[in-house]
């Protein structure tokens, strides 16, 4: 990275501050996005975890649907974690060619931490935390699966879009955010 990139974090509801902390630690500038005007001038965008129903309603209320689709279509990197993965899928913003299954691992008592390899992330297994997490139930041919849990994709990439079922922003693990920021190059 030559100068600090400006990365937006959708801040309608959910774990947006934790993403901002990691991104700033890695040298990026961040901006909270609540209305379409907040997207202007961003080089990348994170859609954090939270409740997908709340985010869906918020995106509709704020008129963010079209601007977010245009942002993703413009080729700038977008990272969706957990509910953010759901927001990107066919049934929501419709930019990522996957069908995410909500709460796929079960209710909160089934939420968990696990370690596994993610393709493209060097340095050993990634420590991941899954909270009422989704998995990818279906995906199109343009989608590259980077990691699976129980035989279901939990990390995928399609060109400029990166989607994770888990929360790298909560574990002190910054390799996935580094991976995301490298997509700017």
């Amino acid at each position: 990275m030559s100068s600090a990139p400006l990365v937006g974090v959708l801040a309608l509801q959910g774990g947006f501050e934790a993403h901002e902390k990691v991104l700033r630690r890695l040298g990026a500038d961040t901006r909270q996005v609540r209305v379409p005007a907040d997207l202007e001038g961003l080089q990348a965008l994170v859609i954090p975890g939270g409740e997908s129903t709340v985010m869906t309603l918020g995106i509709e209320r704020e008129g963010l649907g079209e601007p977010l689709r245009a942002f993703a279509a413009g080729g700038r990197p977008v990272l969706g974690t957990c509910a953010g993965m759901i927001m990107l899928d066919r049934l929501h913003l419709g930019v990522l060619d996957v069908l995410a299954q909500r709460n796929a691992f079960g209710r909160q008592v089934r939420s968990f931490e696990a370690d596994f390899e993610v393709e493209g992330v060097a340095g050993g297994p990634v420590h991941a935390i899954f909270i009422r997490a989704p998995w990818i139930a279906e995906h199109g041919p343009g989608v590259q699966v980077l990691a699976e849990v129980d035989g279901h994709p939990v990390a995928v990439r399609q060109r400029n879009l990166l989607a994770l079922s888990f929360h790298p922003e909560l574990t002190g693990e910054d390799r996935l955010h580094r991976f995301f920021l490298r997509m700017l190059d």
């Binding site: 801040a11 309608l12 509801q13 959910g14 774990g15 947006f16 501050e17 934790a18 609540r34 975890g49 939270g50 409740e51 129903t53 709340v54 309603l57 918020g58 209320r61 957990c82 509910a83 909500r102 709460n103 209710r107 909160q108 008592v109 089934r110 939420s111 968990f112 931490e113 696990a114 370690d115 596994f116 935390i129 899954f130 909270i131 009422r132 849990v149 129980d150 035989g151 929360h167 909560l170 574990t171």
Partner: protein
């Protein structure tokens, strides 16, 4: 991957428990007493619902012992919505908490709104896979609850009144005491822990970070979008609304408005827009007019 095809994992760690609260941040958690209300709350943008038998305003009016809800009602609400479902257990009533865990609720609120079951001990929350949220009126109380395993804290306020004054008092108290800790030297922290009657490791953590080690929501008395904005500006990371929604004239509309004001709490024009034309708020009680025995916030310690 292990031989049975399942990735090895650790379930219900404290990180996972506190992590769900992280995902609720910036959201509104709404009290509901029926599956229909739960659906209205979800459609209005609730981040979670709190399933209970009577909202605090009715508990206050009816009197008598307030207990955990009927499991049938909780199941009905779990089937009606996809957002997290929380439920309340009485302070110290670990058997009610065990029942709620067996029902797989997503969060248990060990709540002063219900009648306390133990006058000395709170529930040992480390013994559960389900995370707990607990009320607090000051920093010492918050840290004692976290020491017992709570993964989320809410300021208590005074439930069922529609009066925000106690919520403000409790949030300000928490803030002031946290700021105070950050000004102390390392050698002064053991005495501070003694004064706060809190575990020293947690006191050290707060002194270093300048914030609670878990997510802090505000509860008790929020009735309007401006109330939500107020407490968010005072440092709450999200809000619980009890009687304020379903005891108002137009619950769905007020629920949407409070959600909007919680997201845009720092933008007065948006809070103004959200506050417009909501109809009547809940019937309210001035907290200062309540006798001591009707004050719920003093339950727990």
């Amino acid at each position: 991957m292990s031989s049975n095809g399942h990735t090895p994992r650790d379930e219900a760690t404290f990180t996972v428990k506190a992590g769900l609260a992280e995902m609720l941040k910036g959201g509104v958690i709404m009290d509901v007493v029926t599956p229909e209300e739960a659906k209205i709350a979800e459609d209005a943008g609730a981040a979670a619902v709190m399933a209970l038998e009577r909202v605090p305003a009715d508990i206050r009016r009816d009197g008598g012992v307030a207990r955990m809800s009927d499991p049938e009602m909780i199941r009905g609400i779990q089937e009606a919505v996809t957002i997290p479902v929380m439920a309340k257990a009485r302070i110290g009533h670990f058997a009610e908490a065990q029942v709620l865990e067996a029902l797989e609720v997503d969060y248990i609120d060990e709540s002063e709104v219900l009648t306390p079951a133990d006058e000395i001990n709170h529930i040992d929350k480390w013994a559960f896979k389900v995370p707990f949220v607990c009320g607090a009126t000051n920093l010492g109380e918050a840290l004692r609850r976290i020491g017992e395993g709570a993964a989320m804290i809410r300021s208590k306020g005074e439930a069922g009144t529609g009066d925000i004054v106690n919520a403000v008092t409790h949030l300000r108290k928490l803030r002031t005491e946290i700021r105070w800790l950050t000004t102390l030297g390392e050698e002064e922290l053991p005495a501070a822990a003694k004064q706060l009657q809190s575990p020293l490791p947690l006191v050290r953590q707060v002194a270093a970070a300048g914030k609670l080690p878990v997510v802090l929501f505000c509860a008790g008395g929020i009735a309007t979008p401006a109330d939500a904005s107020l407490v968010m500006q005072l440092g709450a990371e999200g809000v619980f609304v009890g009687s304020g929604i379903f005891k108002s004239e137009d619950p769905a509309r007020r629920a949407r408005a409070i959600v909007e004001a919680t997201t845009h709490y720092a933008d007065p024009a948006r809070v103004a827009a959200a506050s417009t034309g909501l109809g009547r708020a809940m019937e309210s009680i001035e907290t200062s007019k309540l006798d001591a025995e009707h004050q719920l916030a003093t339950r727990g310690w």
